[in-house]
Symmetry: C2
Subunit: 474 residues, 2 copies
């Protein structure tokens, strides 16, 4: 018999139960926040026509599309983001009421070079408002990010926002032609990562980095770079102070006050809604890589875990349906990096990895008593207690170790002795563990010593377990 | 400019917000039931190696795999079910604790010929127990299906189970060679659909159906078909009666009592757990198409919507990891047809289609008062009330119509008059609607007549809305 090797292609991975549970819990919190905001979910298929996917997302993303073949041999591919399918849906279903404020949670595929923490299939959680010109829409998405992080128990974060159109003022200010915009903004975007000295070098002559790679320069003049540095120097922990400095710096550029007014309005709306300088700031180095942003842009940094980069990013893009309908529809939105945020929450200990959904394991060590175990199992489940019945035929010790391995907090023991006395033995797994840790004894030891075990009347079983569970939780 | 036509390839579809909300709600109920049972979620990627996917699921499914290309030009495909990835995971992560009881929710892809209600990407919700030989595992899955349907408000359903090994007894009984098994069982499986007369014809000489198609016969003898009919005649609303008749019929076949004993044990366990003859029956015509079943098999019919077929089916398959490890691991499980069950629930009016997640729409008809609208919006959201703020600049009437179109039950109106009086006007959309229906007046009429409108003090806003919402719900 030819055996097939069980394996996955590079960049793909399984999420085992502990990680899936943690991810589900995290997603459900954020989903709850945006449903409180009245956003609605949209589902689109993974497979789209290649011409629908093409022309978006830049060359690098285009080359990373997983191509798919159906029996009709049509040109198909797996979606690489949720924005292109949203654009298709908005163009295809003209009857959709607008403002159309939707969220989408699901995998996207990019056949990039895989690396640590970099996968070819990853989940994105996108939130977008389509059909709204007002800065209220941008403001609301930033507010939703703050509420989401609050609800996840993250206390120390910063949403940083700016505007592509304010960056465009910089082009005029530094006498740069609009064609240089993408290159220049790409370098500016690296400010936090590489520092101002290297940004200057990359904007002018280029430099050789630590690994010996030659980073080419953009050939800007010294005075142009001075202007850019002055712009990037407009920093303040106060949004209104940053706005004031912007007005001052760009005072002589026609239309500048209107463009800066967008940041000013957002800042004001954020204050009215209760999101102040302590967690939402203006940061002029935010440019965002993707070419399609046309207004406000933002990023979100967890200040206690900055190594994970931005966990929630986005901005305004008004060319959403242009490729499909030839017309402009305003849109703004953000994308949560689900796997990145989960990794950060795990690092910050804001999410517990649970290996089981069960709070109780009913051991079944005497098969003659199966009927009792079944009755007990379903009695507890009907009382809403998450209960697993051990279905192997192993001895009790192995069944208790199974609960230990899966972090199931309560184990029930019920044999002929208990039945005669009309009681059930409850084993509180946390007690033994604590004592074992204190004594630095072996796991086998505390399992044998039967710590945390006590008997309750059979008829009080569900009530006793509920009490114990709230004691453990509280 | 070349416009791209917004469209999907055949057999693919979008699920707009109303349907996605309904599907999410349904899935979450069933997920809750199986988490109460202690099942854990598993996530695997959509893309698998073709050799991992191959050799499973029969030729028809193999030919329907969507082939995928990555830059390395490996041979990949989209998964066509969740069982093959489960088998790969069990073989690949030997450290996974067993019993491994997992659920998986996600799309699978089959490039079949699409038809009404038949899609090429569809969601399956699978529940499986791996590593359990005991019939307790099969029993538990049937119990979970009953609990799920109860929790979804379905009252009239039937889980029908049988066993492949009892069907095998029939082969001996009717003097059929084991090679005929697949063909004969395939015909028997059609009993409910085509009736006993046509089953007899298909087992013997064949016949021509209504559309003129020639259905070939299997060439069985009259006495063989008599035996089969006698077997299929073993029907009873009582499980214990069906078991008794089986023992009687197969009394002379060696080993028969053990095989029938499996159905007997399941029936007993089901009774102990509280799932009686009124909703779980033995049905000997259940064979299930897929070749890999090796023990108990089951189907689930909604008796008030039988046209949707089985909404939850499965059985035992003990060759799960054979292709990967060359060894046998017992496994049993079931698959919920998510889209099929949702269609049935909609037909039975057990699921409401909601077009919005918002319970309140705050109209914004005076832009000078934006700050008030924002403050109100976030005040309600912080009180846990699902609130949308209308972000267009349309007149109030259009904003109210937007709420009407999306079935948002409460609309708030707040202009300079209200502000001066320190009140908010609440519009209960259900009142107007009811009156309009009574009067058979036009929608425009009731919108103008301002029914269901009343004022509440600004400071009591959240409390008043909560009261109104519980009145509407109750």
């Amino acid at each position: 018999m030819n055996l097939v090797q069980p394996r996955l292609s590079r960049g793909l991975r399984d999420l085992l139960p502990g990680d899936t549970l943690a991810r589900q819990a995290m997603i459900s919190v954020v989903q709850g926040v945006f449903e409180t905001y009245g956003f609605v979910p949209l589902t689109t298929p993974a497979v789209e026509y290649l011409d629908v996917l093409s022309g978006s997302g830049g060359q690098e993303i285009q080359e990373s599309i997983f191509v798919v073949h159906n029996p009709e041999e049509e040109e198909l591919g797996l979606r690489f983001d949720h924005t292109v399918p949203l654009a298709r849906v908005v163009a295809q279903y003209k009857e959709l009421p607008k403002p159309f404020r939707r969220y989408t949670i699901g995998p996207v595929w990019r056949a990039d070079k895989p690396g640590p923490g970099r996968f070819r299939e990853f989940v994105q959680f996108d939130i977008d408002s389509v059909g709204v010109q007002s800065e209220l829409a941008d403001t609301e998405i930033i507010a939703g990010i703050c509420d989401s992080l609050d609800a996840l128990g993250v206390t120390n974060y910063e949403v940083r926002f700016s505007s592509r159109r304010v960056l465009n003022l910089l082009l005029t200010y530094a006498a740069l032609s609009p064609e240089r915009a993408t290159d220049v903004f790409r370098v500016i975007d690296k400010l936090e990562k590489i520092g101002i000295a290297k940004v200057r070098l990359e904007l002018t002559t280029g430099y050789t980095d630590e690994s010996g790679d030659k980073i080419p320069g953009l050939g800007l003049t010294g005075s142009q770079v001075d202007q850019i540095e002055q712009f990037l120097g407009i920093q303040s922990p106060s949004r209104s102070e940053a706005v004031r400095k912007l007005h001052e710096t760009f005072d002589s550029i026609p239309g500048a006050h209107d463009e800066i007014g967008v940041l000013e309005k957002m800042s004001h709306y954020l204050d009215v809604a209760g999101y102040h300088d302590d967690r939402v700031i203006i940061d002029l180095s935010i440019a965002r890589g993707l070419g399609y942003y046309s207004g406000p842009v933002f990023e979100t940094i967890l200040l206690d875990a900055p190594q994970f980069g931005s966990v929630f990013s986005g901005g305004r893009y008004d060319d959403l349906v242009m490729r499909f309908l030839g017309e402009r529809i305003p849109a703004t939105g953000g994308s949560m990096g689900v796997d990145r945020l989960l990794a950060a929450l795990l690092a910050l200990d804001k999410v517990k990895l649970r290996k089981s959904t069960a709070d109780v394991l009913i051991t079944c060590f005497d098969q003659k008593m199966n009927d009792d175990y079944i009755a007990m199992t379903f009695e507890l489940r009907r009382a809403g207690i998450h209960t697993e019945m051990y279905m192997g035929t192993d001895r009790a010790g192995k069944q208790i170790k199974f609960a230990d391995k899966l972090d199931i907090p309560i184990v029930l023991l019920y044999g002929p002795d208990e039945k005669a006395k009309n009681v059930v033995t409850i084993k509180d797994m946390s007690v033994g563990r604590t004592r074992a840790q204190q004594l630095t004894g072996s796991r086998e030891q505390w399992l044998q010593e039967r710590p945390g075990q006590f008997e309750v009347p059979r008829e009080n079983l569900a009530v006793s377990i509920k009490e114990l569970l709230s004691k453990i939780a509280g």
